[in-house]
Homo-oligomer: 206 residues x 2
DNA sequence: GTCTATACCCAGATAGAC
DNA sequence: GTCTATCTGGGTATAGAC
């Protein structure tokens, strides 16, 4: 690994622990094993390191979304199966340690970095919500759930629970074991999803 | 208002906007209209200003909790009424502009301030969850909800939705209009609560 | 209680030798 | 591409006059 790569990975580690402002160029250089002035041969300034990390994350996270016809098939195999398939795409990305670190970085920087905040809002919250609305509308059309339920409210009720678990993990319990968290996350969101589904499903359907 | 009070209120305003590290003593002094050295006649250092703010918040927020027998009565008057009563205590505190500001400060500082983090975890999350578990257990005993439901999962499914709305407001939409947020918050959590309740209530009961 | 002046530190960043 | 040396600016905090 060359020094540019080292700077990149060390920065992810330190930024995710202490936040962008909480880490100095000197600290990064020290961890890499070079002098701070050498950093500027690879990145023109500190902000550029952060931007590079964010771009990397976006590229990695652009999920090959599950095509709708596949979702439609999954739906017929029962809600639990359907839900599992929907989550796996997202969670498989988070399993990599470095992606977890950047995700924490995103969360803790979101309050004073416009770029980060917009990314979180659009890609991590709004896009999935819109996706779930489409899916719940399909379920409505198939008579799997009640025709009078508000699919936006349903999507939010469903999705925000997991979002809060993420917040709780990254802000309040960090750096608790990520593996254990992901395990708990799957279990808890599954219970939650089941509960939400029970309130709108049409009797007898699994 | 004397200068010590001015320092206090100006600090709340600035800290909530830019975070603790994002605000300098110079900036606070400038906003108050004195020189930075004068700050130290009132507070021994910057950290003490923050601690004073946190203590103030804790004192104000120590809610006179709704006594359980009152809750038991509310419960018999229907879930919506019951829920409303439970929320009002908390939200009435948040209606004051300054309490909203400190709440935002709590959220954004929680990742690198142990004191803040512990307060958030215990008082804002764990305590209410334990409270709701007691209440749902009471509802179970009264045969208002299904006897086989997991009241902890129920409490989390119920409560975390609102917590995420708070996160979303304070991190991602700040400084959106607080009044509008509180209004939306009431409406959305009410819908959500109704949905959760529907999934566990015993048929026919309102 | 507020001021001026200043000490001291650490941050980001640059110049130029090797 | 890395180093030493240095600049500049901002931060917290203190001393001492008024």
């Amino acid at each position: 690994m060359n020094n540019k790569e080292k700077i990149f990975h060390v920065s992810i580690d330190l930024f995710s622990k202490y936040g962008y402002d909480g880490v100095s160029i000197r600290q990064i250089a020290g961890e890499v094993g070079i002098k701070e002035s050498s950093i500027y041969n690879h990145y023109s300034n500190k902000q550029e390191i952060l931007t590079t990390i964010l771009n990397y994350y976006v590229e990695e996270m652009v999920s090959d979304e599950i095509p709708l016809d596949q979702a439609s098939l999954n739906m017929d195999r029962g809600f639990d199966f359907f839900y599992q398939a929907g989550c796996d795409a997202f969670l498989s990305k988070l399993e990599e340690e470095e992606m977890m670190k950047i995700t924490r970085l995103l969360f803790i920087e979101s309050y004073h970095n416009d770029e980060v905040r917009d990314f979180l809002k659009k890609s991590i919250i709004e896009a999935p919500i819109e996706g779930w609305i489409v899916l719940f509308d399909m379920m409505k059309a198939k008579n799997l759930i009640k025709s009078d339920c508000d699919t936006r409210q349903l999507s939010e009720s469903f999705f925000y629970y997991g979002m809060f678990l993420l917040y709780e993990h990254f802000f309040l319990n960090y750096p608790e074991d990520d593996g254990k968290f992901l395990e708990d996350f799957m279990r808890k969101t599954q219970s939650h999803a089941r509960m939400i589904f029970d309130s709108v499903k049409i009797g007898g359907i699994e």
